[in-house]
């Protein structure tokens, strides 16, 4: 789902105007723990009031408008807590809201007329969920704490022994493609599965999958374009310091 963002957002743009133009920004605000109403505040005011680096916030806003917008890599490491907050909250949004919503529709399909197809879709989705859970657990239990440690080390604390063996290169390798199965599910629903008796449910399911995909794509961009390069440069700086 690509949002045509007619508004060229700058730090002086009114945040409420940006949101009216692109309602997906509501998710960005939520993932960063920013609550409505926005009053007359500008993009940069919203950022500073919530203790988020302005450049980072503007980059996020732009990514929500155009997934392909160019990303400056001028971040220093101080942005780490906000990036991790965003990623953690979006995990929560998928797990608590989107995935149960999708499961609900699939179970509804089964109730409406359980067929081999819907049973297979259910199994397929369960399998996807367990992969995603592993991926999120790995990030939250291994990667994110490591990144926090790096950030604290750069701020002057001692590097803990247990994280010395780890590096972000490993994260890149472990960065499983959780989007593959999602793409497959969409292809199956659009191209192959007959499911005549639950037509509107198929549409509802597809719309939910697109909603998820839209946010997941931004999520991956933030990891690939902002977080991983930033962590690599933090690692290099720590190595240099020693």
């Amino acid at each position: 789902m690509r949002t045509d963002n007619a508004l060229n957002v700058s730090s002086a743009t009114r945040m409420s105007e940006a949101v009216s133009e692109n309602p997906f920004l509501l998710l960005l605000l939520e993932h960063l723990g920013i609550t409505l109403p926005l009053q007359e505040k500008s993009v940069s005011e919203v950022a500073s009031e919530n203790g988020i680096d302005r450049e980072l916030f503007l980059t996020f806003v732009r990514l929500y408008g155009d997934l392909n917008c160019s990303v400056q890599n001028s971040f220093t490491g101080e942005e780490v807590p906000a990036i991790l907050l965003y990623l953690r909250n979006s995990h929560r949004y998928y797990s608590d809201e989107i995935y149960p919503g999708i499961m609900e529709i699939i179970l509804g399909m089964n109730r409406a007329g359980s067929s081999e197809e819907t049973t297979m879709i259910e199994k397929f989705f369960m399998e996807y969920l367990s992969e995603v859970k592993n991926h999120f657990d790995y990030e939250e239990q291994t990667v994110f704490p490591y990144i926090m440690q790096l950030s604290e080390t750069l701020a002057g604390k001692d590097l803990k022994e247990e994280i010395r063996g780890y590096s972000v290169a490993e994260y890149k390798d472990h960065h499983d493609d959780i989007e593959e199965k999602l793409d497959d599910l969409k292809s199956l629903l659009i191209e192959y599965l007959p499911m005549k008796e639950v037509k509107h449910m198929r549409r509802m399911l597809l719309m939910k999958l697109y909603e998820l995909e839209h946010d997941l794509r931004i999520h991956s961009r933030i990891e690939d374009y902002i977080l991983i390069p930033l962590v690599a440069s933090m690692e290099a700086r720590i190595k240099y310091k020693r």
Binding site: S70, E116, F124, E179, K181, L188, R217, D224, E235
Partner: protein, 199 residues
């Protein structure tokens, strides 16, 4: 979505850099672009993260073409691509793996980046929507029943590489990449009964 494919661009002109970066990011894949302003910076970036391709203005290495060989030797998996908008000697250009010009259409630029091992390489290029061959159906049935590549190779008396090629073609033709997705496809198309699947 495809795998992440890192690209480093070393081009002094900010305008050309931004233009090229936008062509790359509009191609739809996941191609993080990093900018370098010197060969030292390229080497530094390459040691930090693997990059599948480096696009380089040959002007940066004209005075020291041997640096290209050094980079190639240290990072053999990285393609070196010359970005041309001025004339350079063929002896210098022959040190690159490929070349693009500023007049090239986006498809040509993306092809230069992906040639060889990159994502969406050859298997995708051959992608056709036509039906599956008998051999592909054999592979699909075994795959859907939960067999591993090696077991499929043994059962069909073919090499594991051939199995992998069939598997790639199956994904290219159906648009489905995961084994469990292919298993559902096999049931829908009645190549296999649901009870026969490994899922």
């Amino acid at each position: 979505m495809s795998k992440v494919f890192n690209i480093i661009i070393a081009e002094p002109s900010g305008l050309l850099f931004s233009g090229l970066a936008s062509v790359i990011s509009n191609s739809g894949g996941r191609f993080p672009v990093f900018r370098a302003d010197s060969t030292e910076e390229i080497q530094r970036l390459l040691t930090l993260r693997t990059a599948e391709a480096v696009i380089l203005n040959p002007g940066l290495v004209q005075g020291n073409p041997r640096i290209l060989q050094t980079i190639k030797a240290a990072f053999p998996g990285t393609r070196l691509i010359a970005l041309l908008y001025a004339f350079y000697d063929e002896s210098l250009l022959s040190l690159f793996d490929d070349r693009i010009t500023i007049n090239d259409p986006p498809e040509r630029i993306m092809a230069a980046l992906k040639e060889g091992s990159g994502p969406g390489g050859k298997a995708d290029a051959e992608s056709v929507s036509a039906g599956l061959s008998d051999r592909e159906i054999d592979v699909l049935r075994l795959l859907a029943s939960g067999k591993a590549t090696k077991e499929i190779a043994e059962a069909l008396h073919i090499s594991t590489n051939t199995v992998i090629t069939h598997r790639k073609n199956l994904s290219a033709k159906t648009g489905i990449r995961s084994v469990s997705g292919l298993a559902i496809y096999a049931v829908v198309k009645k190549y296999i009964t649901p009870r026969g699947t490994g899922i």
